[in-house]
Amino acid sequence: MKYRFIIICSIYLLVTSCSNDGRGYEYMPNMYRSPSLETYGKNKIFNDSINARKPVAGTIARGYLKTFNYGPSLEDYLLAGEHAINPLESNSDNISDGEALYSMFCEHCHGPDGAGGGSITHPIYSVVPYYNDDKQKRRSGTTMSELKSGHIFHAITYGLNAMGPHASQLTETERWKIVLYVQELQKYSNE
């Protein structure tokens, strides 16, 4: 009888220990899944049951005061080019921060020197305007190398055609830092 019991137990263990696609066992599951809401979880409070909420309309989060008050239209783009001022100083700290951010958010399309050659393999993104291009006139009425900081900030914030808007990924300060670095690249010569 004793042996039979052990055999049955071991077969049971063998069978139950074999699954690999689930999460396996947890100790004290209610410490893993406590009643407090997880960032991307579900809840029963809201109609759409999504925990990740949008900010309440009309509120401004701490540290997110607007430094750029132009809309997405072409008129606003032109106005921004004329009037928007970069609140940051163009010093080496800000530029090197901008460079790091540029390598995270722009390089794969615009290339390491802002003159093409990004790592994206899709044909649409194999053609991007070069920041140092001083021949082709653009929507700003100027060439790429003459784009003002307001133009560049507007392009990052609202995008342009195949380039998507990056406002949700970058704070305004971060965008101004990138602008400083792009302005360095506008002076870049590939000769």
Binding site: I6, S17, M31, Y32, I50, S119, I124, G164, S168, Q169
Partner: protein, 413 residues
């Protein structure tokens, strides 16, 4: 025989002369075209493909298949030189295009006359696109036999063996004129013979106990450890394609890893930064990308968002999950610590389907805190503290645990 041969020879000569004439006639023409077209193609690829395809498919602007038939040369040149001027001059066709494509102003291109004729030659004679023959979809996936199938086969073989041996024994016995036994009788007989010897019993139960202990130990050590957990996700997103082949930085999509406790899952608008225009994947075609569009209500044909669409969240399956009594902060490790994502998450850029690479156990955390040196350079916030630490641990490596990285309350509070 001979005359026939002669005729054949004549025919051959005649044919080759004809062919030569044809080739001579065609050569200069095709050469002429070829030159124009290749430099036109180069111009096109350098300046136009961001917004136009050579098929009928719409990108930012219209697909350019057959434009040269639709519009005259002079008009096209005017449009490409400065479309805004043409629209302002009240040209009806120009205004119609501007309206149809959401009033996006096309960049003006100041090409030379030669460049314009090259470009138009290319537009009139686009390359023939070869149909892709083999799609990677159809490659059959070979998988090894699962462990349970193997076990089943082995046990079947064993049962058959027992059956064969017993019937063999019975055959022999009946041949000798002895009593035959049924299978259970044989098994029970053999079994009682075996356990009548004490050494046998001790030996077997010792082995058995060791195996059981090993199983129990492994089982207990595995509780709460989900290394290699690799669930299937609602969208077959491949990190290998995005982070590996296309070299998109981790921070591009997980932009909150630098700022928050969480390394955020990108909201669909981040996908759309590229997938507004990239509608087809290299492995799964349109099916997987369509799932993003279904979630947010985007029509890839017209490239517009559907009015009044009820958006629904994409429910990704969470892989990395610390228990709630342990606090972990991404920004602390990514920004202050300067740790590469791969150190904890493994070679994500090689994973088609993501899995958990590290154990994420307390032992694993502690081990790293004991070995990792504090990143003091470029951190001006704690200059004073860092000076004190250097003073205290002269000549020693200053690791995370030396400044309290092993305090219980650092992670459990």
């Amino acid at each position: 025989m001979l005359p026939e041969n002669g005729i054949g020879e004549n025919m051959k000569q005649y044919r080759s002369v004809k062919a030569l004439i044809i080739i001579l006639l065609i050569l200069p023409i095709s050469n002429l075209f070829a030159d124009d077209i290749t430099s036109g193609e180069k111009l096109f690829k350098q300046n136009c493909t961001a917004c136009h395809t050579m098929t009928s498919a719409r990108l930012v602007g219209p697909g350019l298949e057959g434009v040269t038939d639709k519009y005259e040369k002079e008009w096209l040149i005017k449009w490409i030189r400065n479309s805004q001027e043409l629209i302002a001059s009240g040209d009806e066709r120009a205004i119609a295009i501007f309206e149809e494509y959401n009033k996006v102003a096309m960049t003006s291109f100041d090409f030379s006359d030669q460049e314009f004729s090259d470009l138009l030659a290319y537009l009139a004679n686009p390359p023939v696109i070869e149909e892709a023959i083999a799609t990677s979809n159809n490659i059959p996936i070979e998988e090894g036999m699962s462990t349970s199938t193997k076990l089943m086969i082995i046990s079947l073989v064993l049962v058959t063996l027992v059956y064969l041996l017993v019937s063999l024994k019975n055959n022999l016995k009946s041949a000798l004129g002895k009593d035959t036994e049924t299978i259970p009788e044989t098994l029970i007989g053999q079994y009682s013979l075996f356990i009548s010897n004490n050494i046998n019993v001790i030996f077997v139960s010792a082995i058995f106990t060791i195996i059981m202990l090993k199983f129990t130990y492994d089982g207990l050590m595995g509780v709460g450890v989900t290394t290699n957990y690799q669930p299937s996700q609602p969208i077959e997103f491949s990190h290998k394609i995005h982070a590996g082949q296309n070299g998109v930085d981790c921070n591009y999509c997980h932009s909150s890893a630098r700022k928050s406790k969480h390394s955020g899952i990108p909201s669909a608008n981040v996908c759309m930064n590229c997938h507004t225009y990239i509608n087809e994947g290299s492995i799964t075609g349109t099916t997987e990308i369509q799932k993003i569009y279904d979630a947010i209500g985007f029509d890839p044909k017209t490239r517009t968002y559907i009015d009044g669409y009820v958006q629904k969240p994409i429910e990704w399956v969470r892989i990395h999950n610390l228990p709630d009594h342990a606090y972990f902060n991404h920004s602390q490790h990514v920004v202050a610590g300067g740790i590469e994502c791969q150190e904890c998450h493994g070679p994500v850029e090689e994973m088609d389907v993501l899995y958990q690479y590290s154990e994420l156990t307390m032992d694993w955390c502690v081990e790293c805190h004991r070995e990792t040196e504090v990143q003091m350079e470029g951190n001006n916030y704690y200059t004073h503290l860092h000076e004190q630490l250097k003073e205290k641990y002269k000549g020693e490596k200053i690791t995370v645990d030396k400044m309290g990285g092993l305090e219980c309350a650092k992670c459990h509070y």
